[in-house]
């Protein structure tokens, strides 16, 4: 069994502890208090009279606030406990913990409360083996302060722990020697400020009162306002309402303000992806346009500001490319990882154009389209100038950083994710099929933007010609006529890589599929090799590398399935779309809480319960967004001019659902749907 993990989070900061609230380094898990890709607390252990504590219960109040109810000693003793503790943890731009000790006896009691504290300033990229750093420690009992400082040249990180109650401070922690009256209580607040000198440079030793105000009022109000801005879901299944609300809360939690300062953008998710990933961010925005379109606007701005503008081998950068990953830690700063703006992704750039166009269709925000003309044009130019690596007209990838670059630069980015059905790995550069779909879509959408907003009809014509040509050639070169699906990729010499994968659903979503082939693709997507019962597997069963617990070789991803279902509805394969959506909703409702990044690809019939994977993070922005997209897909939400079209196709058992106050260029609009099966069942029968 994996130990229990409890997290609080805020922006790209998060704190992960065990079930008692203690933080002890674990090489397999990012445990600690992290901000800007640095671990500011690696040790945080509470003891009473030398004893560790046991948890009676916990109250996870919001994503940024948790209370632990604790007693000292072994689990069997606490029935007679005459002392108990409450540990109330909250996180905004600082970490705070209020410790309340309660004396339940009729006698005064004396205790030694000890908090062991340490900071290793590890970078998020080296959790498995943090290197030793020279950390200077200053213990100051008079100021009730313990300060850790790490410096490498001008790169400086500090952790400053302060206590409100008088305390003995030493280099390894803080000790309180207290006396509590009968039935009395004792309280201290501990404030952990992180000090970054440089980008985002901030001195966060804000007053305790400010933190409390911020967490208890501002953050709660902001969360409420965020929930209020999203449409209201009314439905017959309470677990669906709960799942919907959890998605909105997760998306609120997984936002941070990058240094581009153009508004908040989604991070990938806990625990490994608490940073801006271009792909995750764009997909999340595409998934949530009907719900929280504000995310898309700030993401487009930020990505435009971070757009590549030069050739750089280490960072796989080219002019016009949209960023893949952005980190702020020491490894990025000193080039040990290429993540201070890493561009190793071939899909982010066309998807940026797709998002820009789709955002306008929903929002009517023409000003942003004009303002971002230049980055959009650079992105479109990139596709042909830098993305077509062999000159055959297909978008391909090949890292130029042989040490740290990503070998696969689409969404299937594990090293062996692109393979033949018989297990062979194709050569590089690889042209995966979904990239061609995205490029096609980007060109068509770019054409619309050029014609309607940029006053450039000639460029629009050119893009449309190129898109049509790409579609024609793609349908020729990638189609496997015997198997009746599109190859996963093309080798450098054009040989098709014949694996059957969920990527064929992305092709439907992008519209590159010939009309008459949609039926065959839909049949594959809900066929026994791809469909597990919970969702579409990344990689079809029966192929050599198929592995139900392999991220991109068999697992089921909600974000992937959301795009697939949307694609199926585009081609009017409503029944297949409903079946997939129904499976994912069942999975999310069965698992409960945040939608996981993926589940194992085992047959639903066999396991009956979705099997969760240790590698799967949660919450994940594009999983939470994926569920929202599935909802929008089932309701058939689509902007058309200044109106919102609604065309529901709900799976049976879904009952009646209403989505109220959908924001967009129409102001606010409502959508209603009910499943047909249910309708018939309710009708009185003739005898």
């Amino acid at each position: 069994m994996r130990p229990e993990r409890v997290y609080v989070m805020s922006g790209n900061a998060f704190a992960v502890s065990d079930g008692q609230g203690d933080i002890l380094v674990d090489p397999h898990d990012p445990i600690g208090y992290f901000a800007f890709d640095t671990r500011f607390l690696s040790h945080w252990v509470l003891k009473v009279d030398g004893q560790r504590l046991n948890a009676l219960s916990r109250d996870d109040m919001t994503y940024f606030e948790t209370r632990f109810f604790l007693v000292p000693g072994a689990a069997s003793h606490y029935i007679d406990a005459d002392v108990s503790l409450i540990r109330h943890r909250s996180l905004d731009e600082a970490f705070q913990e209020r410790i309340i000790v309660l004396n339940h006896s009729a006698e005064p009691a004396e205790f030694t409360i000890r908090l062991d504290i340490g900071s290793d300033f590890a970078d998020t990229s080296e959790i498995q083996q943090p290197r030793r750093r020279d950390v200077s420690v200053v213990a100051d009992s008079e100021r009730r302060e313990l300060r850790f400082r790490y410096a490498r040249d001008r790169f400086v990180r500090q952790t400053i722990v302060t206590s409100t109650a008088p305390v003995d401070v030493d280099e390894d922690g803080m000790t309180y020697r207290i006396r509590i009256e009968p039935e009395g209580e004792w309280i201290t607040d501990l404030h952990v400020a992180t000090l970054i000198e440089g980008p985002g440079g901030r001195d966060l030793r804000a007053s305790l009162e400010e933190h409390r105000q911020h967490v208890h009022h501002t953050m709660r109000e902001e969360l409420q306002a965020w929930l209020d801005r999203a449409p209201l879901l009314v439905c017959e299944r309470p677990e669906l309402t709960a799942a919907y609300r959890q998605c909105l809360v997760d998306l609120a939690a997984l936002r941070y303000l990058p240094l581009t300062k153009a508004g908040t953008v989604p991070v990938g998710g806990l625990p490994w992806g608490m940073a801006l990933y271009g792909r995750d961010a764009i997909i999340t925005c595409l998934q949530t346009l009907a719900f929280l379109p504000e995310l898309a606007r700030s993401t487009l701005y930020s990505l435009a500001t971070l757009q590549g503008d030069r050739l750089d081998d280490d960072h796989d950068e080219e002019p016009g490319k949209i960023v893949a990953e952005l980190r702020y830690g020491e490894a990025a700063a000193f080039g040990e990882e290429p993540t201070a703006l890493y561009y190793g992704a071939a899909d982010t750039t066309p998807l940026f154009v797709v998002l820009l166009d789709e955002y306008e269709r929903w929002s009517g925000d023409a000003d942003l389209i004009r303002e971002l003309r230049h980055p959009a044009r650079m992105a479109l130019d990139w596709i042909d100038e830098y993305g077509d690596l062999t000159g055959d007209g297909y978008l391909r990838y090949l890292t130029r950083n042989n040490r740290k670059g990503w070998v696969n630069q689409g969404w299937r980015n594990s090293p062996d994710a692109i393979a033949y059905a018989d297990g062979r790995l194709p050569g590089l550069p690889r042209a995966t099929c979904e990239l061609q779909g995205y490029a096609y879509d980007a060109k068509r959408r770019g054409a619309r933007l050029a014609r309607e907003f940029w006053g450039d009809p000639q460029y629009a014509d050119r893009l449309e010609r190129e898109a049509a040509e790409l579609k024609r050639r793609f349908n020729n070169d990638f189609w496997l006529p015997q198997a009746e699906y599109y190859a996963l990729a093309l080798e450098p010499d054009g040989t098709p890589v014949d694996a059957l994968t969920s990527n064929i659903g992305h092709l439907l979503w992008s519209g590159i599929v010939e009309e008459e082939r949609a039926r065959a693709l839909a049949a594959h997507l809900v066929g026994p090799d791809l469909f597990s019962g919970w969702g579409v597997r990344t990689f079809a069963a029966g192929q050599h590398r198929y592995n139900p617990v392999g991220s991109h070789l068999g697992a089921v991803w909600p974000s992937d399935n959301a795009l697939i279902a949307a694609g199926l509805r585009t081609y009017r394969r409503d029944a297949e779309a409903a079946r997939i959506a129904s499976g994912i909703f069942d999975m999310a409702c069965t698992v409960g809480g945040s939608v996981p990044e993926m589940i194992a690809g085992y047959d639903r019939e066999v396991t009956k319960y979705p099997i969760q994977l240790p590698a799967a993070g949660r919450p994940q922005a594009w999983s939470s967004g994926g569920l929202l997209m599935l909802l929008a897909t089932l309701l058939g939400l689509r902007p058309s001019g200044d109106n919102l079209l609604v065309s529901p196709a709900l799976p049976s058992g879904f009952g009646r659902i209403e989505l109220l106050d959908i924001p967009g260029r129409w102001g606010h609009s409502d959508a209603y749907g009910r499943d047909r099966g249910n309708l018939r069942a309710r009708r009185p029968r003739l005898r």
């Binding site: 440089g198 757009q307 980055p375 042989n402 740290k404 070998v407 090293p415």
Partner: protein, 133 residues
């Protein structure tokens, strides 16, 4: 040594710079300090044109670093993002204009076009596959 930042800034001609978005207008000031004194470069950006002068006036974006940091960027040896993360370069103001700052300096010498890298891989079929991630 490559060209210094000062030489490069002085050589910035008033021609149209297509790599700068036409919607990005404003002012930048580069403060290059060394031995207790600071050199100020003032960049006015209008319609894809950059005009350079020497002034300590207020600007929409102020970029501050040691003179050698600017020089290394001018020589294509240092990326702006890394310099920022290391706290070797500080930035204050309208971050959208940081794009201009990045684009007036060249990239790394010897960086390859992806097609060139693809040709090299084609010449030695198994390279590029044993990448760590």
């Amino acid at each position: 040594m490559g060209t210094t930042a000062a030489e490069q800034l002085l050589a910035l001609t008033p021609e149209r710079r297509p790599e700068i978005p036409e919607t990005l207008n404003g002012t930048l000031r580069l403060d290059a300090y060394e031995n207790g004194w600071t050199q100020h470069w003032y960049l006015t950006v209008t319609d894809q044109h950059v005009e350079v002068s020497r002034s300590a006036d207020d600007a929409d974006l102020v970029v501050r670093a040691h003179r050698t940091v600017f020089d290394r960027m001018a020589a294509g040896q240092l990326r702006a993002a890394a310099a920022m993360l290391r706290n070797d370069l500080t930035v204050e103001g309208d971050m959208r204009l940081f794009v201009v700052f990045r684009r007036i300096f060249p990239g790394k010498a010897g960086a390859r076009h992806p097609r060139e890298a693809a040709r090299q891989v084609a010449a030695e079929p198994n390279s590029g596959r044993d990448v760590r991630r």
